[in-house]
């Protein structure tokens, strides 16, 4: 635990305690971010940012107001002015219809288990070396490299006027995405990796995946596939998009109460999904960059969301629980630790999948681009395939399709049409880099086969 941060928070708490009649919560976020971006086989940008954000929330009975600033540890007076601002704002805020809970930390909690100094300190030369290894021998004048190597470290620390105790979390993370795309034919292939510690980094795996896809794409002429119904094998990255959106519009009690969920209270305890699907929020899974306590101090434990197809219940963040008069479930976190369990079907990588005998043509979709929610009440989403789709023919041959659009309900994709779930799983890094650093990954089966899904649009070119 960084003592300078702790002392700063204690100084700020002492200052906040002078604000009679008000409570103040202080959320500290520090990031050291490095991103090497590749395009057209060159490094198109090499950047780093070191930023400290402070979010100050003032409470007065049923009123709440917050003030944020980007600052640094040498600016204690500026931070105190932030407290002044939040306290001034809360006076003029309008009371909520409920009393917002102010967390009470009953002990100091420090978790640095998801931090690896060697990953956080990786150099620019090492990032470049990783990429050079990942695509060694695969680039040509026409097949060009794009991608990112995004790594960094994050510290989150909290204190408030209710107790002197601190919550302190520290993470290291890396998100690597490599793309090999044809400059004129415009097809694209990709391989990705998520790392929580330096020893996770394995450029040879990316090289293997890219080489296999490149072989398929360079030796087949892409073609438009007919509209209609297909048996689809989704890869882990595509599944991560679907799981993320399902989490957003499915499991949140607040979303359900606001009419923005495809699940309802009558479905709790019922088999809503395929019996092949089990999904947990599992803070024991280090690859998800977990919060082992939530931001209100509730210890987090493995929490089943779907168990062999049965919907186990809604999760409640503190503010939603306050508003709707129920108990929080320890899900007031920057991100959950979603982990979908593997199944019985033995297959660990794409090369194995392609070799397996099949009873029908299989459309392999590794990636879903630009997913959006068409109808939240029905869980209908739409997205296009991208980055290495394949049509695995029943006769064992492989074809390359132009991109297609899938518009389906997640209840169908994860419902009775699921034919099998792969026994292997992998971590997919889904971190965004909007705003504050928030390393996020989901554990997913490498492949899930879903039968009889409609393709509603089929491109005539890339």
């Amino acid at each position: 635990m960084n003592e300078r941060i702790v002392q700063t928070l204690r100084d700020l708490r002492a200052y906040a305690l002078t604000k009679t009649g008000l409570d103040v919560a202080i959320y500290y976020h520090e990031e050291d971010s490095h991103l090497m971006r590749f395009a057209n086989s060159a490094i198109s940008l090499n950047t780093n940012e070191h930023l400290i954000r402070l979010q100050i929330t003032a409470y007065s009975g049923q009123k709440r107001a917050s003030y944020g600033l980007i600052t640094d540890l040498g600016k204690l007076d500026e931070m105190k002015r932030g407290i002044d601002m939040a306290c001034e704002m809360v006076v003029h805020a309008q009371p909520l219809s409920y009393k917002p809970t102010i967390p009470l930390f009953t002990e100091t909690f420090v978790d640095e288990s998801a931090y690896d100094e060697t990953l956080a300190a990786i150099s620019g030369e090492e990032r470049l070396e990783y990429f050079n290894d990942a695509v060694k021998g695969l680039e040509t004048d026409q097949v060009r490299l794009s991608g990112i190597f995004n790594n960094g470290s994050t510290i989150i620390a909290q204190i408030n006027t209710r107790s002197e105790h601190i919550q302190y979390f520290r993470f290291s993370d890396a998100q690597i995405s490599s793309v090999l795309a044809h400059e004129t034919l415009k097809w694209e292939t990709t391989a990705e990796q998520s790392a929580q510690k330096k020893s996770d980094l394995d450029p040879s795996r990316l090289h293997h995946d890219l080489a296999f896809l490149l072989d398929c794409y360079q030796n087949n002429t892409p073609r438009q596939i007919p509209l209609g119904r297909y048996d689809i094998v989704f890869g882990a990255i595509a599944l991560s998009e679907l799981a993320s959106v399902m989490n957003w519009i499915g499991f949140s009690g607040g979303a359900m109460k606001r009419g923005f969920s495809f699940l309802n209270v009558d479905q709790v305890g019922k088999e809503v999904f395929s019996k092949h699907i089990t999904l947990l929020d599992d803070p024991a899974c280090m690859a998800t960059f977990p919060f082992k306590r939530d931001l209100t101090g509730i210890p987090r434990k493995s929490w089943p969301l779907i168990e062999q197809g049965v919907f186990k219940g809604f999760i409640w963040m503190q503010d939603d629980a306050d508003e709707f008069g129920t108990q929080p479930t320890g899900h007031t976190v920057g991100h959950p630790s979603l982990a979908m369990q593997g199944g019985q079907h033995q297959v660990s990588n794409l090369a194995e999948l392609v070799k397996q005998p099949r009873d029908n043509d299989l459309l392999y979709i590794p990636f879903l681009h630009y997913m959006n929610i068409v109808n939240p009440s029905k869980g209908v989403v739409t997205a296009s395939s991208r980055f290495g789709a394949l049509l695995l023919k029943k006769d064992g041959s492989v074809a390359v399709p132009f991109n297609v659009r899938v518009t389906q309900s997640v209840l169908d994709i994860f419902g009775p049409k699921v034919a099998w779930v792969s026994d292997t799983t992998q971590a997919v890094n889904v971190s965004g880099s909007y705003g504050a650093r928030n390393p996020t990954a989901i554990i997913l089966p490498a492949f899930i086969r879903v039968n009889d899904l409609e393709i509603s649009h089929s491109n005539t070119a890339f």
């Binding site: 395009a39 944020g68 980007i70 470049l128 995004n150 694209e188 518009t407 909007y434």
Partner: protein, 484 residues
């Protein structure tokens, strides 16, 4: 501070940098208020300051940023070091188009600084709107307002020094309700830009009130409406959805960095190639599109971009033919060389960063469609035998090369034999970009033209959110698939 920046820039030039610029934000402040069902869920404000440094060294970019300005020299060194590493993998050395050295100031037009308006007055505005929306049929009501104000000092190694002060205001209303099957529907109001300014004065209580009544009425019509049919017909897009169609399938497709492959790892590419400029029939002859950063009242107008290039008004599509792109200094040079012809004559002034800690990239300004000569909305409807009027963006999803799309709308009105018919729910439409724009059969007159805005356009890695505008008329497109 400015003198320090100049000294550091000179130092890096002496150490081999080809070009250096610094963007110092003395302040950037925001204020965000969100009221949901009468609850003021968010009363938030923020303030930040910092410095971003961009260095070009041996044809490669390095960038570094920090909020800690106690040792700016170290920040400049970081940026140079990042560029040195990047220079180890260069395939096309970065070149920058010529520009003039400029000393200038820009202040966006604003009569009333929203940060000087008392919080109580803003909350009262939201409360009044919330009460207006609190009517039968409405299950959830949301009112929000966002204010932004920032000062940017730009200094570069070519002698430019530009100071900008930009104020933006955004806000809107949304209602949602549940139909008899428990399915959620929504209707929203996001005000188009009126007048010549962009301060608190644009929050017109009367206009908001009128639109609050309208969206509640329309929501209740949606809740009892039939399902949108699945068929092919003419679609008449109101500005409340056409702005987004323009944004996604013209604006993003014509960002030159995307066309050149610089977004392939993330946001995607473009179906447009360098060969297409001057020849591709992007749309019907009724389609003329421009990138106009000179409109006074839009977030897509900013005086000078983050390359130090003055705001411009450039044609992108002229009577259906592709003629221009959204460009910065770097990309036009690369495009002209790769195309082996001069497609672009200098930067179009569209390189922008969302904050001091992000690097500038090609961003839309105001991507506008010229009004046409096909009359009012009523005139267009009267000339439509079989169609649907669509408004409101419920969802949008675009192919990775912007070659195809699927939009879901808040509301649709069927059009039969030139007359507006019943409302339908769950309206959607989809299509292929070029085919769609070539099916443009009517462009409304200036009375139908409205300047809409986008306050959350995402692009780039690290990700950036940008604000911009789209002025568009009512337009009709033929033979479009709806209801999927």
């Amino acid at each position: 501070m400015r003198k320090q920046l100049q000294q550091q820039i000179e130092r890096l030039k002496a150490n081999g940098a080809l070009y250096v610029d610094a963007r110092w934000y003395p302040f950037e402040e925001t204020n965000y208020l969100l009221m949901r069902n009468g609850n003021l869920k968010a009363t938030a404000a923020s303030r930040e300051s910092g410095l971003g440094v961009r260095v070009l060294y041996k044809g490669a970019w390095g960038f570094s940023a920090s909020s800690d300005l106690s040792s700016p020299g170290a920040l400049f060194d970081h940026a140079l070091e990042n560029a040195r590493v990047a220079a180890e993998r260069v395939t096309f050395p970065v070149r920058l188009a010529e520009k003039d050295a400029i000393q200038a100031q820009f202040t966006s037009p604003c009569q009333i600084n929203p940060f000087e308006v008392p919080l109580a007055e803003k909350v009262a505005f939201l409360q009044e709107m919330d009460q207006k929306l609190n009517q039968p049929g409405v299950f959830q009501r949301v009112c929000d307002m966002t204010f932004m104000r920032k000062q940017i000092v730009f200094v570069d190694s070519e002698g430019s020094e530009i100071e900008k002060t930009i104020t933006e205001v955004f806000g809107g209303l949304q209602v949602s309700g549940l139909d008899s099957q428990g399915e959620s529907h929504e209707r929203s109001y996001v005000p188009g830009r009126r007048g010549d300014t962009r301060g608190w004065e644009t929050f017109d209580l009367q206009a908001f009130g009128q639109h609050a009544d309208r969206i509640v009425k329309e929501l209740n019509e949606i809740l009892v409406a039939d399902q949108c049919p699945k068929d092919t017909r003419s679609v008449i897009l109101l500005p409340g959805i056409l702005f987004l169609q323009t944004h996604e399938t013209i604006g993003h497709a014509l960002e030159l960095d995307r066309i050149l492959g610089y977004e392939l790892a993330y946001a995607g590419g473009s179906f447009v190639t360098l060969k297409d400029f001057g020849s591709l029939r992007y749309g019907s002859p009724k389609l003329t599109v421009r990138a106009d950063a000179t409109a006074p009242n839009s977030p897509g107008s900013f005086g000078y971009d983050d390359d130090g290039i003055p705001a411009q008004d450039n044609l992108l599509i002229d009577k259906g033919i592709l003629v221009g792109a959204i460009t910065g200094r770097q990309m036009v040079e690369e495009a002209n060389i790769k195309a082996k012809r001069q497609i672009f004559n200098g930067s179009s002034g569209a390189n922008r960063a969302t904050s001091f800690y992000r690097v500038p990239i090609e961003r839309m300004t105001n991507i506008n469609i010229d009004a046409g000569q096909d009359g009012t909305l009523d005139d267009i409807v009267a000339n439509t035998p079989n169609g649907i009027i669509l408004d409101g963006a419920r969802s949008w999803s675009i192919g990775s090369n912007r070659e195809q799309f699927h939009f879901a709308n808040e509301i649709g009105w069927l059009v039969e034999d030139g007359k507006v018919g019943p409302v339908v729910k769950n309206a959607t439409y989809k299509g292929d970009t070029v085919k769609f724009w070539n099916s443009l059969s009517a462009a409304g007159d200036p009375s139908t033209w409205s300047l809409e805005y986008v306050d959350n356009c995402g692009k780039g890695q690290p990700n950036q959110v940008m604000q911009l505008g789209h002025g568009v008329p009512v337009c009709r497109f033929d033979n479009v698939t709806i209801g999927e």
